[in-house]
Each structure stands twice: as structure tokens, then as C-alpha cells.
Amino acid sequence: MQRGENTPYTVHQLWVLIILGGICIGLEVGVHLFLRTAIGYTHIFYILLVLAAVWYYKKALWVATALVAATFLSSLAVGDFNWATLLRASMFLLVTYIVARISEERDRARSDILAQKEAIEKKHFALIGYLSEVTLRIKNPVKILRDNLLAIRMEFDGNGPDLDSVKMELSAQLAHTEQILANFQELNQQVIEEQSEIPDAYREFLTR
């Protein structure tokens, strides 16, 4: 799934964040403004900030900024704006940034691994395709050749073969053999061009 796609899962994530955001604002208003205490409830803000950072990376800093603004406003309204307010606000931003960076790195590494896996699978499929073509163009023609020669051999079992026909048939089989050899050399050439670690002596043997 790509980020930014409007799937039921992302809609669900958005709803979780909206509800948590509502709870946080409710706590800020209810606890800070009415109960006049700034202790304890802000820990719940971290649930919202961590989830937002995991799902939306650095975009979550906007949520953190909104919470910082709400905290500042309520502190100014209540009149308890001090170093603890500033520390709380900077922790909101710092935690959100760290979680966003870690999530981003983790997902990037995961997508790299997936891309590598896909590339390996692609190479593997190409190799299978190559091997089946080799089988088709080398092994099966050799079989056909063998069976053709067997058929020519069987002509000698009758009343005596037509020698001119046999000569022409053998010439055709020779032509097939030469082409099979040429195919084999072409395939070997392709293999050694791909495989730089093959020693020169073997390389020469394969293309001889």
C-alpha cells in the first residue's frame, strides 16, 4: 500500500487521530482551564503525537505545533506560563520529530528490502526463462535429431533404402546439427558475457 492512498485503512487512521485530537483538546480545556492544573493529563498527548508521527512522518509536527499552541493559550489564560510549559512544548515537538524520523527510516529500509527482493525475483524469473529456452533450443532439438537419425536407421531394416534419399536426409540432419552447435555457442557467449568470474581458459573452451 502506498502512503497517501485513500484506503479504508488510512481513513481509519485519520479517524483515530481526529478522536484523539478531540480528547486532547477536551483535556486541555477541561483539566487545565477549569481544574487549573497542568500535571499528568499531557502524557495522553504523546499517544496522539506518536501515532501521527508513525503514520504521517514529519507532517505530525503540525499536530504537535497545534498542541503546543493550545498549551500556550491555556497557560496564558490560566496564568501559569513558566519554564515547565516551555519544556512540555519542546518535548512535544522533539518526541514527534524523533518518532517521525525513525518511522521514515524504518519504512524506507523496508521498501529498499522489498525492491531488492523484487529485483532478485525478476532475475530469477529471467534465469528460468533463459534455462527453458536453452532446453527448448538445445536439448529438445538434439532429441529430435536423435529420433530423425533413428528413423533414417530404420529405413535400412526394409527392402533396402533409397540411397539418394538417405543422403539428402543425412544432409538435412547435418544442417540441423550445425545450427544446434551455433545456438550452443551463442548461448555460451551470452553466459560468459554475463559471468565475469569465469576463468579465461574455461571462457575459451565455452566459445571454441
Partner: protein
């Protein structure tokens, strides 16, 4: 042995599978059946020189006036076309698909309106000369041509000489597939009973 081409007419294109050692005999049986049904047959040969096939057909009592050839192996194997074969078109090599295509088009055009059938001998041998993807494309080209001129076509192949993917592709191009060895085994079983 009579080959069941009773559906020839309803079905136009056939893929006929045979063992390699019976390929030549089966080729002759098919020609015998087709000429017996009044077909004018064009044999495209990449496996056996046309001169060999002619001798075989004559020995099997086939009227050679009803058979013409597109020979892609003789020139390649012997270096030159033998004299006295005016009814035969020679192609330089089985891998020369352009010339082969032109020859097939010309022959099919010359037989327009007649009861004609094309016999391709064999798809398996073509694998020695060209990649399977090109064979598939070429057979598709021929089948399309045949359908356009409303002619019949039979593609001979060695049963175990094709990979499943190519076999599947060829099967989709034709109307029917006939396994000659199964027919032969069946007829032998009947004889035993």
C-alpha cells in the same frame, strides 16, 4: 491408417502431434487422407528435403499433382536446389521467415477459391533455427492468413519437442489438436481385441 479429419471443414486448423520417428510416415498419411478428400495440399518443409518427401509420397501412391512444396531445408542443407523441381519454392534457410512468409502468401493467393490445405512440417524443427517467441508469432501469422483466405492448415510437431508454454500458445491458434500416437495406439488396441 486413416486419420480422422472428419471435422475438417468445420474446424480449419489442426495441430498434429507425433513422435519423431513416425513423423515422416504420419506426414505421408496426412497427405494421403487430404488428397483423398480432394484437397490441394501445400507442404512447407523444414525437416525433410522436398525431394525425399516426393519419393515417399510416390511410394505411398499419392498423386503429386495435388501437392506442391515450399522447401526451406534443401538449399540450406545441400547448398543448392536440385534441378527439375519447378513445382517447388525454395527458401534459403528455415530462419528466413520473411521469404517464408512471402512464399506462403503467394501460394495461398494462387490457390484462392480452391479447396486448399497447408501442411507445416514441422514446428519442432523450426525451434532449431529460431526462438520460440518468433515461432509463436510466425505460426500466428500463418493461421491468420489461412483464416483470411478460408483455407485449412495442419501444423505437425514432435509431441515432446515443445515446451508447455509454446504448446499452449499453438493450441490457442488452432481449432483442434490431434495426437497421432494416441490414434496409433488406439488402432493397435483394436487390432489386438
Amino acid at each position: 491408417m486413416q486419420i480422422d479429419f472428419s471435422r475438417l471443414g468445420d474446424d480449419k486448423l489442426f495441430l498434429v502431434l507425433s513422435s519423431a520417428e513416425r513423423l515422416k510416415k504420419n506426414n505421408s498419411h496426412i497427405i494421403h487422407t487430404l488428397t483423398g478428400q480432394g484437397y490441394r495440399v501445400v507442404v512447407i518443409t523444414t525437416n525433410q528435403p522436398s525431394a525425399v518427401l516426393k519419393r515417399l509420397y510416390t511410394a505411398d501412391g499419392i498423386d503429386l499433382k495435388k501437392v506442391s512444396f515450399i522447401d526451406a531445408i534443401t538449399k540450406y542443407a545441400l547448398g543448392k536446389a536440385p534441378p527439375g523441381q519447378e513445382d517447388c519454392r525454395f527458401i534459403n534457410s528455415p530462419s528466413n521467415l520473411t521469404d517464408l512468409g512471402i512464399a506462403i502468401t503467394e501460394v495461398l493467393n494462387s490457390l484462392a477459391g480452391k479447396k486448399a490445405c497447408l501442411l507445416f512440417d514441422s514446428v519442432s524443427t523450426m525451434l532449431i533455427y529460431i526462438p520460440s517467441t518468433n515461432i509463436s508469432k510466425f505460426i500466428h501469422f500463418i493461421t491468420s492468413k489461412l483464416r483470411l483466405v478460408d483455407a485449412s492448415g495442419i501444423f505437425l510437431a514432435v509431441e515432446k519437442g515443445l515446451d508447455p508454454l509454446l504448446l499452449t500458445q499453438l493450441t490457442t491458434y488452432v481449432d483442434n489438436t490431434i495426437d497421432m500416437d494416441v490414434i496409433l495406439e488406439g488402432s493397435n488396441e483394436k487390432q489386438v481385441q
